[in-house]
Each structure stands twice: as C-alpha cells, then as structure tokens.
Amino acid sequence: MNNATGMPQSAVVIGGTSEIAQAILRALAARRLQSVVLTGRDSSHLGEVATDLRSLGVAHVETLVFDVTDVAHCRSVAAKALALLGDSSPAGSSGGIDLVLVAAGMLGDQPGDEADPIAAADVLTTNFTGPAATMLEFAGILHSQGHGRMVVLSSVAGVRVRRENFVYGSSKAGLDAFATGLSSALAGTGASVMIVRPGFVATRMTAGMAPAPFATTADAVAADVLRGLERSSPIVWSPPVLRKVFAVARLVPEPLWRKVGR
C-alpha cells in the first residue's frame, strides 16, 4: 500500500531497464519498496537490474519480457504482473500494485525518421501507442483495486514541440495528453496518475548529445519524482524550474520559437 507520505511498497515498471526508472526504484527502495515486477525487451539486462534492486534490500523482484509495442500482449502482461505481486499470498493480504512506472521510450533519429515513415511510426508506437494501451490495462486494475498510482515519464519535448525533434516531441505530447485524460477518468477512484516532465537528462538515451539548458541527472529526476509522490502532485517538472520556463515557452510565437527552440 502507498503510505501517508506517498511511498509505495510494490511497483510494476514498463521499460524496466530505463536509467531514470532505475534511479527512481533505487530511491524508493531506500523508503518502502518491497516487491517489483520489471518488464522490458531485454531479459538479461532486466536480470541485472533485478540483482541490483535485491542488493538494495527489495525482497521480491521478478522480470517479465514485454515489448511495449506489442499491444496485443499488454493485457496478459498486466495480469501476470498483478498475479506476481498480489496473488502470491492468501485472500487480499497483499495490497496489489501500488505504483506503475511507465518509462519505456525511444528518442529516435529525427532526420532518419523524417525520411522513413516506418521508422517514424516506430517512435510513435514505442512512445505513445504502446504505453497508452498498456496504461489503459493497468488503469483498469488500479481502478478495481481502489488504490494505486501511475507515474508516466513524459517530457518537456512534448510541451512545446520543436522542429528539431518533432517526431519524438509529438509522441510525448500525445502520451502527456493521454495521461492527462486518464488522470481525470480516474479522479475519485482511489487510483491516480502523475505526469513527469523531465528536461534533458544525462542517460544513455541522450549519450553523445550536447546537454540542453537545465540539464539534469537520473538521480535528480528520481528525487523530484519522490517529492511529487509525497505531495501527490499531478504533474512533476524536473528540474522544477522548467515549469516556469515552459510557461513562457508556450507563449512564444512560432517564428520566434523556431529560432530559440534549436
């Protein structure tokens, strides 16, 4: 169960090898996290993450292979994850899924994606279609269990889409909008959604890229996410100053944005 300070005891991760997700899980392990189901494409990498979490004292860690673009399987994966967390003990004595962390995503290669519709569609499916379908499935579980939180890694790239990465940006804009809608759909059910909008985070996703202004680290994002859980925030900007930056960025006229947005 999530406690009064918003700390979960159990979690399911979509994109369990994500560096940001790992940082969040490590931070949660220091608080209350006891059981985790990691899902992802790469089972050996998932195994490494699981080992790391166990060494931090997380008692039960399981892994499930799941490609988020494989929407036909999101239902069975959600059911398996619930069974691993909830049904291992007699009638209801476990709290089910406290937290669903949606971290799967890819940056893509903008020039290549512009040239190849299949590559562009892959980015959109990985960042939007797949996660959205999976979120719906887990939302159903959280709704019926009457509690639980979904944390979705969106991005500032979707808040004001830039010419330089509009394929990725639009996929995050879609994800962000979907999560916002889902959040209102779940209002009052005990289940809730928290949208995380990081700026540039130094992880393997951005490796080799020049850091953007307000660049941050996975651990700093994790700290902001935990604050958000403590405060039941519907939206978390990381670093927090980006909320103000993008309040302005949203208003900048398009011709000017094209210049500063580079």
């Binding site: 999530n2 406690n3 608080r31 009638a91 004595s93 709290g95 509690h147």
Partner: protein, 504 residues
C-alpha cells in the same frame, strides 16, 4: 442483567462517518444489502482508497456479509466513525462494513452501572444519555465521536490511563462476528461461571487493539463510572520545561484521575518542553460554585451544534508561523497555577469536538499523528527529549503535542499502552524529509523498548512492527483460528503485514 432503564441514544445526525465521498455511478447491488463505492480516508485524510461501503442496521446482516465475503474471496473490514488517523478502517477494492447503524443500547443496569450496547454506538450518544443519569464512560479519548467498536479495536486510552487503564479493562463481554461464526468472549480474570465469563479470553484480548482483524464486534457489555455532575474539578499549571513537567507528573499524577500535559513543541533551548499541565477529577455537586450547584443543570450534557470547517482551505492554515503564534498565546493564557477550577466535561475532554471537520485545516495533503510510548526510565525519557529536539531543529510545527503518563498495560498482545510516557504529535503532511524523520524516530522509540500507536499510524515501516509489538505472533495465531481464510483485511493490515499470512 436487570433491565432497569431503557435508554435511547441521541441520534447522531451530524456525526456521520468522516470523509466519506460517494463516487459517481449507481450503487452496485448484486446482493440484498446495498453498497456504494466510496473513497475513504482516516481522520488524517491521507492515503485515500475506494471500497464498497455497506451500512448495516442489524447484526444478522454482518453474518451474511462475512459469509458472502468468504464465498467471493473478497476481503472486508469494519469501520466505525473513521476517527483513526490512518488506513485502519479502509479495505481498498474490498468491502467496508459501516457499523454505525448498530447503535442501540440493548440492556442497561443503572443500579450497578453496566450497559450492553451495539458496537456502532458512539461515545457521544452514550454520554448524552448517561451523564444526566449519573454515569460516565470508563475511558474517553480526545474526541467523543468514536464508536464502541473503534474503542475496542484500538483498546483506547484516556487521560485516566494511569488510574483506570485502557478501555478493554472495563469491558466484561463481547459478541464477535468472526469468519468462523459468532463468538461470545470475556476476559479470563473476572471469571464467574453463570455469566459464561472467561470464555474465549484469548480472542477477547486479541480483539482488544486488534484493529478490526479478529472479527466484527457486534455488541459489548461495559462497566460505567458513576459521576455526580457533568463538570470537572480542574487544576492547571505551567511547567517551564520538559523536566519540570515530567517531575510534576511523576510526583502529582496519583492524586488525580485525569492528567495530561500540552507541550509547546516550538519552544527550543532552555524552554524546550515548556508545557501546560491540566489535571482533574469529576466534580461532585458540593465541589461546584453555588451558581452551578443545581442537581439537574449540573449534570446536563448537551453539546451544542458545531461549527464546521466548510471546505479544504487553499494552502495550510496550520503552518509553522500560525502554530507558533497559537502556542505562544496558549502558553501565556494558561495560569501559572490555578486549582479547583470548574470546567465542563465537553471542553475538558473534547476541546476540538466543537469544531466539525477541523482536520480539513491541514489542507489537501492532510496530516499525520505520531503517537509513541516509551517505558519509564532514562532511555525512554531521553527519547522524548530527542524527539522534541528533532522537531525543534526541523521546525516541524506540531499543532497538538500531548504528553501523558501511562499506567501498566493490559493482557492484549496488540494493545498500545505500556507503563511509561506517551507523546502525541499532529504533523502537517507534505514537508520534505518528514517521512525519513519519522522513520528515524521509530528506530529510537523501538530501541528504547517503546512503540507507536496503530490507531494513529499511517506510515510505519512493516519491519518495525514485530519489534514494537513483540507479541504480534500471539495475535496472529488467534487471528488464524477465527479467520483461517484471511477474510478480514484492512489497508493497514496489508501495509504493515499485520496478518502474518505470507509465511504460512
């Protein structure tokens, strides 16, 4: 039991269960007893969860619901007036049995002072009915708006613990609807064969402080305390610091039935632990000043309609600045020493009950009550000092900080009180580091042999539970006997692993 006077409980119209918010959608009524999906929290307004809430009016409905839960393997938990602070009376995704409809006085003997009452009756309604007839409840918490069932499930204590012990020490019999069937239970110590007393004493004591997890208490027989008036004879004095306060309590508490100290948590350094100590006893008619000395009016107990905080204010009205200002005023207002002051029961025992839904003042994130007990002795007293220091350092404002001396505990494995000191702190939820700070305090408390109060808890680490409650396994063993399938489950039980089902 003689059926001397038939009492009628005062209707509890304005005392609805706290924080019930009906969700949209029609009630799902697959069976005969209607239920509504609702979002529930405890009094602290943290960790909301949704469950199907069923209000029962008759005991048989409880038996039916338990049978239904067993069939459908869907857990259930009883709920009273929702005055526990955390998630004890919640069962996310399951069934929550609102017992406040079981509020009848079934039998009363106002000669000897014994009453058999439905578990959903509130202490408020009992006081309204009994005080004018010369009887009082044996133990009252800081609010009247708790049910008998809640008082039993938390084995509540009052300002008179050092004198009278906890609530269950005044209960002579329970009727419990357990998953294995209806069970009558009584404490073994007052065995008297024709009464059936002593039967199922282990279940009796496991139910005391058992947080609703051993069955739903349907009715209870309680011994009452005779009183002449609704007034208290009160002595108040200021204490300059924690040592002063504790030594005054140690030397003087035995002269009073009721004793409690309010501590200014924001006072630091030399003033750390400065306090206002309030002690008293029930006033006899003769104790009262002439203007109050009329037999009927002196025993009037009719709390007036209450002001209610109408909505959740933006931000927190109770923040370090306002709390500091309040504390300063409260401390200065208190007399250096005043004796024999008459005060009505309502303000003496339940000063906050005059304001409805005051918990909303803490804003959207609610608040946490941290209540600890540490055994008498230097280790425990050191912990009290360090807790106050820690609060002062972090400028964590506690609006309510109450210190009290406990007498010895009772035989219940999960009962909170133990001989020593208890400190209760109301803390606004949300500040960075609050969770970690309380985790640190837990470790200190446990190392000193103390514990935190489950009726107030919303955040304890599950690993701490068996250290703080070393007889947890005894409780779990009784529980498994009466609920082998694990039907009785609360959010708190899940969070803390109270049921101990995993290992089996």
């Amino acid at each position: 039991m003689a059926r001397a006077v038939r009492l009628r409980c005062v209707p509890l119209t304005e005392v609805g269960p706290a924080d019930l918010q009906t969700l949209s959608g029609a009630p799902s009524s697959s069976t005969t007893i209607p239920r509504v999906r609702r979002l529930l929290t405890g009094w602290g307004r943290t960790s909301p969860s949704a469950a199907d809430v069923v209000s029962v009016r008759r005991p048989e409905q409880i038996d039916a619901l338990i049978a239904e839960a067993a069939r459908s393997a869907r857990p259930l938990v009883p709920r009273g007036l929702g005055r526990s602070y955390g998630d004890a009376a919640q069962c996310a995704g399951g069934l929550v049995v609102d017992t406040t409809g079981l509020n009848h006085v079934l039998d009363s003997d106002l000669e000897s002072g014994s009453i058999r009452v439905g578990a959903g009756a509130s202490l408020h309604s009992l006081m309204c009915a009994l005080v004018p007839r010369g009887w009082f409840v044996p133990v009252t918490p800081g609010t009247r708006f708790v049910t008998i069932g809640g008082a039993i499930a938390a084995d509540i204590h009052g300002k008179n613990h050092h004198h009278d012990g906890s609530f269950m020490q005044h209960v002579t019999r329970l009727s419990i609807a357990a998953p294995v069937g209806r069970i009558e239970a009584s404490p073994s110590t007052r065995a008297s064969p024709d009464d059936g007393a002593g039967a199922n004493a282990d279940l009796f004591w496991a139910t005391a402080g058992g947080m609703g997890l051993t069955g739903i208490v349907v009715e209870a027989t309680i011994r009452l305390l005779p009183v002449e008036t609704a007034w208290m004879n009160v002595d108040t004095e200021r204490c300059r610091d924690l040592d002063d306060c504790m030594s005054k309590m140690e030397s003087g508490d035995s002269g009073y039935r009721y004793s409690v100290a309010w501590i200014d948590c924001l006072a630091r350094g030399r003033h750390m632990g400065r306090a206002v100590l309030t002690r008293g006893d029930h006033a006899r008619l003769d104790d009262l000043p002439p203007r109050l000395r009329h037999a009927t009016s002196a025993s009037r107990f009719e709390p007036t309609s209450r002001f209610e905080v109408p909505f959740i204010p933006p931000g927190r009205l109770l923040n370090p600045v306002t709390v500091a200002a309040f504390n300063e005023m409260w401390f200065r207002k208190a007399p250096l020493l005043q004796t024999g002051h008459p005060e009505h029961m309502t303000t003496f025992f339940h000063p906050l009950d005059g304001i409805g839904a005051w918990n909303r003042l803490y804003g959207r994130l609610g608040f946490i009550q941290y209540q600890l007990v540490v055994p008498t002795g230097s280790a425990g007293e050191g912990v009290l000092r360090r807790v106050l220091e820690r609060l002062g350092e972090t400028r964590t404002a506690s609006f309510l900080a109450v210190l009290k001396r406990f007498g010895p505990g009772d035989p219940a494995p999960l009962s909170f009180p133990m001989e020593g000191w208890t400190l209760a702190l109301d803390l606004a939820n949300g500040p960075a580091g609050l969770g970690e700070m309380l985790d640190d305090l837990d470790v200190m408390v446990a190392e000193a042999g103390g514990r935190v109060y489950l009726a107030k808890d919303s955040r304890l680490r599950p690993e701490m539970l068996s250290t703080m409650y070393p007889r947890l396994d005894e409780f779990q063993a009784v529980r498994r006997k009466v609920d082998p399938a694990g039907i009785l489950v609360s959010d708190m039980a899940r969070r803390l692993g109270l049921l101990g089902m995993e290992e089996t």
